[in-house]
Symmetry: C2
Subunit: 207 residues, 2 copies
DNA sequence: GCGTGTGAACCTCTTCACAGCG
DNA sequence: CGCTGTGAAGAGGTTCACACGC
């Protein structure tokens, strides 16, 4: 389904709806309204309806949205019906901690591999996953590129790691590295910038 | 300086400018233009000028912005001229990894304490910082509330931890916990949601 | 009556283009 | 002449309010 022109903000909210729906489903709730979702996600109910209506007519007027049905649709939109594999590049502090923390509570993701270039670390097992050398990347994930790489390499090694990933066909990267990285068109790159989050909090404290 | 009505987006970009300026300063660059910042931060030069002009006239027409001068001003806006302390609540995988990774490359932040409720963990030293019991929070940080708390407690314990922090005067929280949390007015709460980032990447891969 | 889906109004943020200063 | 600062135009997203279907 190409050519959808929905904003990142909408997708971000869909992710929240999905999380909320999984919880509702686990609690035995069968049907929810836009107001239900709006209160739990901190969004106006009109926004919830707009977001959902952008992809089809999922609701039943007068009652609301069937939880399992809506969740299935959102999963299809996000691609989490068959979630991509998640691999970690860099088995340092953060990389190891991510694997040990797991991905419970997410849309079905799980870590399938972790890589490092340090010979002392290669071969260790972290949360049941063996650390592999980075040049084994191709063998492990294949070339279909249907996976997400989380980047947790040391400062200064980000771009080199990205280049390696891209050359192996990777198309989605989440970087914890505090450096601006370049990727070619067709590869999506996002950042988790602790530094910026702290700046935002620091600023808001003096307002 | 109260009552400034600037958007979160602007503040987020200021954080990027600051990082870019620190690097420029370290490289010996004395003056930069809005185009310089725009290229390195992936923003239009007009946006850069608008962002900066919102707080005063920092630039010199015909030449640009003096690096040290501009950085000083941004630091003052963000509050990073005297950065608040950063404490970590929860000495599990992520909390420990954050301390061990440190805060190099940020606007001068550093971790000043880490807390946990598990007696087996209390007393250990992580990156030179001793894990304290959570009820020692008041003694350690005082009651002025001028610090940022990073929340890395296990799922299900988020709200309890937040309540404790708030009751001790904490006014800024960055949560790694995948739960919606409630805070009273006057307390700022932000999330790092790995799950949502993965959803965004997953979605963009199928477009 | 209740709640969705949706055009219209509203608001915010971005981009454009240029005046003005060094 | 170069680059900042800024009104004006444009784009995008949110809220409002109501028609329609259950």
């Amino acid at each position: 389904m190409p050519g959808k022109k929905v904003s990142e903000k909408t997708i971000r909210r869909l992710s929240h709806y999905a999380r909320c729906l999984r919880k509702a489903g686990a609690d035995g709730t069968g049907v929810v309204t836009s107001k239900y979702l709006s209160e739990r996600c901190g969004i106006s109910s009109a926004a919830v309806r707009k977001d959902l209506a952008a992809f089809g007519e999922f609701g039943k007027q007068g009652s609301g949205y069937e939880v399992s049905d809506l969740l299935e649709n959102i999963d299809r939109i996000l691609g989490t019906c068959e979630p991509p594999q998640v691999i970690v590049i860099g088995a340092g502090n953060i990389g190891s901690a991510l694997l040990e923390s797991g991905l419970e509570g997410t849309g079905g993701y799980s870590y399938s591999a972790i890589f490092d270039k340090n010979p002392e670390i290669i071969g260790r097992t972290i949360a049941g996953v063996t650390v592999q050398p980075v040049d084994k990347l191709g063998e492990v994930v294949g070339e279909q590129g249907n996976y997400i790489a989380i980047l947790t390499v040391p400062p200064g090694e980000g771009q080199r790691a990205v280049n390696g990933l891209v050359s192996m066909g990777c198309r989605a990267i989440l970087s914890f590295v505090l450096e601006p990285l370049d990727v070619p068109d067709g590869v999506v790159l996002r950042y988790v910038e602790l530094s910026t989050e702290l700046d935002l909090l620091s600023h808001s404290m003096r307002s």
